[in-house]
Symmetry: D2
Subunit: 343 residues, 4 copies
């Protein structure tokens, strides 16, 4: 931490700053220039941040120089971790496809989508039982009944399931039915939920908030990690910008940036980023080319009848094209497509 | 709803659209132009929205023409409602000041802030016991102990309390200790929480999400209203933009826009919008001038020692200036300052 | 400037940094902490910025601590300047209303709008002859013929004219016909144009770019100031955000922020921020309440027939309401309404 | 165009709308529902847009259903055009690399960068003589002297040159020295400049504005096309968002979206999007994978001494990696790397 004193500050102001720093257990080094005095501070930056010296009138600026997260940082663990989800890896050596219906509607619809997904190269099955919807009048998911369908289909097709949890009170029951818990974009800063999924012993898929910075996203992951769970996979799913022609703006730079900041694997969700089927394939390719450790996509056998987000679900030719890409692109990135478990 | 057919669409495509509309209980009117056919649809737009006709290849565009929210709309209740909070009104005839510490730290600090707030014109006391913080290493609030302090101070100074709830499981205990429940910006789309506060019989202060549109914000309010609770006050607290010199960008146009769209009262939070003390007064004035029904501001007797957001807390001269503004500006807007209850 | 060395950096790295700093005429002060070495730099920050030390692998971060603009800064001139426009002041003692048609269409339309504007309290006349339009198929303004109409009406009603210039080649002819030159939002970083208006000896109204930061805006003003023209008035006209219900998001915090950063006066354009008539009045009030030195609004006698932006033009009752506000609000801010010149 | 009448509108309101439509040469079709009346309009939408019926109090909404651009649309020319730049194609069959220094500084530096670029696979040489800079104190380019250096190096290495023009008055001289004229992001809505480059008979590289929508970008291209020049290549270079860790946010979805909307080729600028060298390669790969017709990147033999944007210039290993990608990825997309002309 570097503290830049205001031009008018005198010796007593500097002494006050030093006193605050030392009271918080830090060490201060003073540099006096012609116009400015600068105080360098050494110590636990997370503790020092709490003293908020920027409020002192004699302080012009406080510059943080270390990251505010720790367990999820590159400093804590260099390189990229591999997270195992029911026996399927998500990490630096593979491209892992997670696919399935946006929402679980019926056993038949879920099974059909799972089989399509597996055939296209998916090793993990997605499917929502609890759906956070902007409108209270929209389909909210089947809840527990949906979890049961998902678990049965997962067992039948041999694809560990990934599903969203929206309330801390549901974490245990969701963990009983699925191999990986998803925290959605709207809940990225639902800290109660983050702490709950941190304590349950299942890997977590943490989607980026609609306008979360990389740092806020990693801080959300740190909430989970602090409870002892480091099996966290991040998911870039597009951010909100002024452009309305696409549902969200996929920020592919998140992939190399997160790689530089954290050891957590990161995957890309081209379906929710685009909001329309014809963009899913180019965005999926772009995600892999940017270095993503996997993809999560919506698949539905009858998108026109889907209860949620049918417009972006892959089917038929669009799914076949994705399958073809997954046969060629991972090798270009020095990876292999993560193989499905035996059915 | 208006459905614009793609240029290539033929009679059978139009017939398919009509069949979908009628199956959902709607009525269709066809207009054939030289290049385009347009299908106007009449019926419950919330039901019709669920059929997602935009996915049909023969449909170029679907245009919604009624609002997707109902109970909180101007159509449901014209004008602006008045919400009573422990006997204090928030509505079109008054400017109501809610003030107090960002976080409850100690009984002494809370009492001192409450007295300062009341003297400046506040009729309601704010104070956080559960603090959603970006960093897991930051002060998270005193929880139940904080609620107890808040309730005691509230009774002592005669100011009903407003406090944040961050988990559906805490709604009952928070409702026992406070007159109004606040749902924070990060939880605006925590639908489980919205439904819980909708069922508890206390007025709700619903902050706008960091990048919520007006429509999404009103849909969040609709979640609360659907559970039978229409005592909802909206709070504009700044949105996230590219500008980083201020903590958030206060969107004062939200005040007249929400007024045109909904009957819910709306107040402004200049403290969290600005993030710095010297901006609080100009933004507070701007909020009142835009037509806000009240303000919520941070007050702290010793901001330099505050555990949360001290940089934006009012004290001394800055608070006196706000008090002076509240003596003159409400009259300009044809309102009165909402009076505190007898102590 | 403060240079934070990377953790791995050794003495030779520090020596390299010092050599670069001294070669650029700066002075370096080294602070060695346990984990980090920090180099404080004193000298002309604009020159030092050019050496871009952040590129050195041994440098973790470079922190600028002084503003990159100079002539328009508070350091150069404390307080707020008053800019005289054809005898009418824009500055800290007044609220100045600039009003008139968005575009000059005919002599009659311009004269009618000017009279309406003057009656409502305007001392300066706006009116566009060169209209930058998103579409090449939209009305582009009358050009020189429009300038002549504007100049005639200006003389007839006794209101100095403000008009936009969009090309450096037009600066002289526009300056012959108008008292103040406007640089529009889309041209805020048209540096050739900024330099041209800096050399012509007329006050300049510089609108904020659609996504300009405060600092970029002041840097654009610095381009003008560098050519010897310090008669610059800034105009906040709304920024682009994700919210599409309003045309732009009026950032009222720009008023106190610019006040703290610069001595240039700042006015607010509620018409272009809102894009709809019913928002103009609340946003105009909010602008004055935030401390703006004036307003610029669109007025048209027949908005439904206006060739540009009729939806936001004031007329009849909406204009009368603005006039009423201008009779009362300036006093609240310790100002007077700038009086029109004798007709 | 579809006009939705307000609920309260009566027959005379509908008649007024029809009269306006017919006066503008359009044809109107009325659909009366139970609650709403809808008027479908057929005719030249660009003309009809000018009547702005949304202003009538009886009109609730006006919905445009055709694109406001024409010459650059898919309707005007299906598929993707190929633009020839001094004999080098940019179009659907190739991936074309444009590379060179951000700014021309000296003949030696430009020649060194050009040779590096050619060796890495570039067929076209970039290099700026006129540099639009945020700060008036930063290096502004060598101007005419820079153009001459660029032209000489271009001839020597056999790479047609692409260079920016910032003022309509410079268009002719720039066209004499370069094979392709670039319009930068800050000038995307400098309509005078667009019209000037539309008339000069050289292909144009049109960068996306910092916060331009796809539609605004295509409208800017339409300004050029209207003057008879359809040799336009679009360049996605990142947009401004709230995320500050990267210089801009590269919007790779722009590539397939523009493909669906327009026949103009589109390339990607990973250097300016990222602002840092380590992101250039992943973003370049992502751009190609999204379907871009080419890349434009900064190259400098001594980035640490570059006068502009050295932090993002490729050199040594980073350039070799890009060269390797260009040997493999185009084939994956069914393309070839555009070959350099004979030296």
């Amino acid at each position: 931490m570097v503290i830049v004193m205001a031009p008018a500050g005198g010796d007593s102001d500097v002494a006050e700053v030093i006193a605050h720093v030392e009271a918080a257990g830090g060490e201060a080094f003073v540099s006096r220039g012609v116009n400015r005095t600068i105080v360098g501070v050494v110590g636990d930056e997370r503790v020092l941040a709490s003293i908020d010296l920027g409020q002192l009138p004699s302080v012009a600026e406080v510059v943080r120089i270390t990251s505010p997260y720790k367990l999820v940082s590159q400093e804590h663990h260099a390189g990229t971790s591999t997270v195992m989800v029911g026996g399927v890896p998500i990490g630096p050596d593979t491209v892992t496809l997670i696919a399935g219906p946006c929402a679980v509607e019926t056993p038949e619809q879920t099974l059909a989508a799972a089989r399509m997904a597996r055939e296209a190269g998916a090793a993990l099955l997605r499917g929502g039982a609890y759906k956070p919807r902007t409108s209270p009048y929209a389909f909210q998911g089947l809840g527990l009944a949906g979890l049961r369908i998902l678990a049965e289909v997962s067992a039948e097709v041999g694809m560990p399931a990934v599903t969203e949890v929206v309330d801390a009170a549901d974490v245990d029951v969701v963990a009983e039915h699925a191999a990986m818990l998803q925290v959605g974009a709207r809940n990225m800063q639902n800290f109660t939920l983050l702490q709950a999924v941190g304590g349950v012993g299942r890997p977590v898929l943490l989607k980026r908030g609609l306008t979360a910075t990389y740092e806020e996203w990693l801080m959300a992951a740190e909430y989970i990690a602090q409870r002892g769970n480091l099996d966290i996979v991040l998911c870039e799913r597009g951010i909100r910008t002024y452009e309305t022609a696409t549902r969200n703006t996929l920020d592919v730079a998140a992939v190399p940036m997160i790689r530089a900041m954290s050891h957590l694997p990161i995957i890309v969700d081209p379906s929710h980023a685009a909001g329309r089927r014809d963009l899913v394939l180019p965005l999926a390719r772009a995600g892999i080319a940017a270095g993503a450790d996997g993809l999560i996509v919506d698949v539905h056998a009858h998108p026109e009848a889907a209860l949620v987000d049918g417009a972006q679900a892959l089917v038929g030719e669009s799914l076949a094209e994705l399958a073809a890409v997954l046969q060629t692109m991972p090798a270009l990135m020095g990876r292999t497509l993560a193989a499905p478990l035996p059915a």
